[in-house]
C-alpha cells in the first residue's frame, strides 16, 4: 500500500486500518453469504473505520486518498469478503464522481456527511428499457421551478436497501433522445423509495442487489456534471473507477484463496497433493501466473489512468479505453480461472465443501459474477470497435 496521505493516518496508517477491517470481513463473510442479505456487520466496520470517506478530500473531512489507495484497500478487503468490498468500491466510485463533477454546493453539503457519518452512496444505472446499455437512458428528468422531478424504476441496485443516497442515471428531458443522459444525486430523504426484495443469487450474495422505485424531486445543484454530461463522466471517471476497483477486488479475493491453499499444502493438510510432484508445481505456477498477469496489467493501467488524470489529460483516447476495457475482461476471466484451478488442485474436501478452511467454493461462485458485472460481451464489442481506431496498436505502457 502506498504511503498514507490521509489525515487520520497521522494516528493510524491506512494499511493498518484496512487490515483490521479486512479481519472483520473475513470473520463474517460466510454468514453474509449464507443469509444472502446485505452485510450489516461487515459494512458497519467499513463505515466506522472512516473508509467510506477514503476518496473524500481532506478539506471536506475525508481521508484524501487516491485511486491507488482505493485499489490497494480493495485488494486487501476483498481477501476478507468480496461482496462487502464490491459494495465499498461502488460507493467509492460514486464519491470519485462527485468529487470530480459535483457542483460546489452539492459537494459542500454531501461530502462532509460521507466522511463524518459514513453516508453510503449507491449507483443507479440499469433500467428496464435500456438494460445494460450504460450510455442510454429512458426515464426522463422533468424540469420544474428550482429543480427536477423524477420517477425511476431501478431493477438492480447493489446495497440499495441500505444506501443513504443514489447517483441516478436519467434521460435529460422528456423530449431528449435516449443518448442524452444526465447523472443526478438523489438523497434518500428526497424521494419515496419502494423496495422489491428477491436477490437470491449463485454468488456475490451479500451485495443484495434489489429493485427500487424512486419518486421525488431534487434541486438543480444536484445535477452532476451538467445536463447531458453523463457520457463524459463515464469516460473520464465512472468507468475507470469501476474497472480498476472491480479488478482489484477480484484479484484480492483470488490472491487470498491462493494464499490459503498454499498454507494448507505446506502444512500437509491437502490430501493427495504432494508438493514434490511436477504436476502440483505446474498447477501452482499456472495459477500464480494468472494472478501475476492481472496484477501487472492492473498496475500498468492504474499508472496510465492516474497519470493522465493528474496531468489533466483526457482518457477519451481509443488506446486508453481499450486498456480499461481489457483490464476488466482480463481480470474477470483470469481470477475466475485461477480459482477454478485452485478447486481442482485442492480437491473435493478443501476445494468444494462449505466450511472448508479456505472458502474456495464461495470464491468460485462469487467470481463467476465477475464476467457478468457489466457484461464482458458488451465490453468486447466496444473494444473491438476501438481497435480499428488504433491501428498503431498502442499497448499499455507505451
Amino acid at each position: 500500500m502506498s504511503t498514507p496521505t490521509a489525515t487520520q493516518s497521522a494516528v493510524r496508517p491506512l494499511p493498518d486500518v484496512v487490515a483490521e477491517v479486512a479481519a472483520v470481513l473475513r470473520e463474517h463473510a460466510a454468514e453474509a453469504d449464507r443469509s444472502g442479505s446485505f452485510p450489516i456487520v461487515s459494512f458497519g466496520a467499513v463505515r466506522r473505520s472512516g473508509l467510506l470517506g477514503l476518496l473524500v478530500p481532506t478539506e471536506y473531512g475525508g481521508l484524501g486518498g487516491s485511486t491507488r489507495d482505493l485499489v490497494d484497500a480493495a485488494q486487501m478487503l476483498a481477501g476478507g469478503c468480496l461482496s462487502t468490498t464490491l459494495a465499498f468500491v461502488m460507493h467509492a466510485q460514486q464519491v470519485d464522481t462527485l468529487v470530480r463533477y459535483g457542483s460546489p454546493a452539492l459537494k459542500a453539503r454531501l461530502l462532509p456527511r460521507v466522511a463524518a457519518d459514513g453516508h453510503y452512496l449507491a449507483s443507479v444505472t440499469a433500467e428496464p428499457a435500456t438494460g445494460g446499455n450504460l450510455l442510454a437512458a429512458d426515464e426522463p428528468l422533468e424540469a420544474q421551478a428550482d429543480g427536477f422531478a423524477l420517477t425511476r424504476m431501478a431493477p438492480v441496485v447493489t446495497g440499495g436497501r441500505h444506501a443513504d443516497g443514489f447517483l441516478v442515471k436519467m434521460r435529460t428531458a422528456p423530449d431528449a433522445p435516449a443518448h442524452d443522459v444526465t447523472l443526478v444525486y438523489v438523497d434518500r430523504s428526497q424521494v419515496a423509495v419502494e423496495e422489491s426484495a428477491g436477490w437470491d443469487a449463485l454468488g456475490m450474495r451479500a451485495t443484495e442487489n434489489v429493485a427500487l422505485s424512486l419518486r421525488g424531486r431534487v434541486p438543480t445543484d444536484q445535477v452532476v456534471g451538467g445536463l447531458g454530461g453523463f457520457r463524459k463522466i463515464v469516460v473520464e471517471a465512472f468507468a475507470p473507477a469501476a474497472h480498476l476497483g472491480w479488478s482489484a477486488c477480484w484479484l484480492g479475493a483470488a490472491r487470498a484463496g491462493f494464499s490459503g491453499v498454499l498454507r494448507e499444502i505446506r502444512a500437509g493438510r491437502v490430501r493427495g497433493v504432494d508438493h514434490r510432484s511436477d504436476l502440483t508445481n505446474q498447477r501452482l505456477a499456472t495459477i500464480r501466473g494468472r494472478l501475476e498477469v492481472v496484477s501487472a496489467y492492473l498496475h500498468c493501467v492504474l499508472t496510465e489512468v492516474t497519470g493522465r488524470q493528474e496531468r489533466g489529460e483526457t482518457l477519451e483516447l481509443p488506446a486508453v479505453q481499450i486498456h480499461l476495457n481489457t483490464l476488466k475482461v482480463l481480470a474477470a476471466r483470469e481470477t475466475y480461472a485461477a480459482v477454478d484451478e485452485l478447486v481442482a488442485l485442492a480437491g473435493l474436501r478443501l476445494g468444494y465443501l462449505k466450511g472448508s478452511p479456505v472458502p474456495l467454493e464461495r470464491l468460485l461462485r462469487d467470481l463467476r459474477a465477475a464476467s457478468l458485472t457489466y457484461d464482458d460481451a458488451l465490453l468486447l464489442v466496444s473494444t473491438g470497435s476501438l481497435t480499428l481506431l488504433d491501428p498503431a496498436v498502442t499497448t499499455v505502457g507505451d
Binding site: L317, S382, S385, L386, L388, L389
Partner: protein, 84 residues
C-alpha cells in the same frame, strides 16, 4: 460545405430528423455517435473517397463535428472531394 456522399455517410450514423440539415459544428457524440458508429464512418469514408486516415488523425478531435471530419478528409484528398 461538403458533398452529398459525405452528408449521407455521416447522417446514417447520427440521430437527426430527416428535414434537419447536418449541422457543421454540433458535437457528433451529442447526436448519438458512439465508438462503433465512429468506426463505421471512418471505414465508409475511407472506402468512398479512397483515402486512409493517418494514425495521428485517429483522435476524438477529428470526429468531434462534421466540420472537423470534413476538414480532415480535405487534408487527405483535396482533389477527390467535391464541395458544394
Amino acid at each position: 460545405m461538403w458533398d452529398d456522399e459525405f452528408e449521407r455517410l455521416v447522417r446514417a450514423q447520427v440521430t437527426l430528423p430527416p428535414e434537419e440539415p447536418l449541422p457543421p459544428d454540433a458535437e457528433l457524440v451529442d447526436l448519438g455517435l458512439d465508438s462503433m458508429r465512429t468506426v463505421t464512418i471512418l471505414v465508409e469514408v475511407e472506402q468512398a473517397y479512397g483515402v486512409t486516415f493517418t494514425d495521428d488523425l485517429l483522435m476524438p478531435a477529428t470526429f468531434a463535428t462534421a466540420r472537423t471530419l470534413w476538414t480532415a478528409l480535405i487534408g487527405l484528398a483535396p482533389t477527390r472531394v467535391g464541395q458544394r
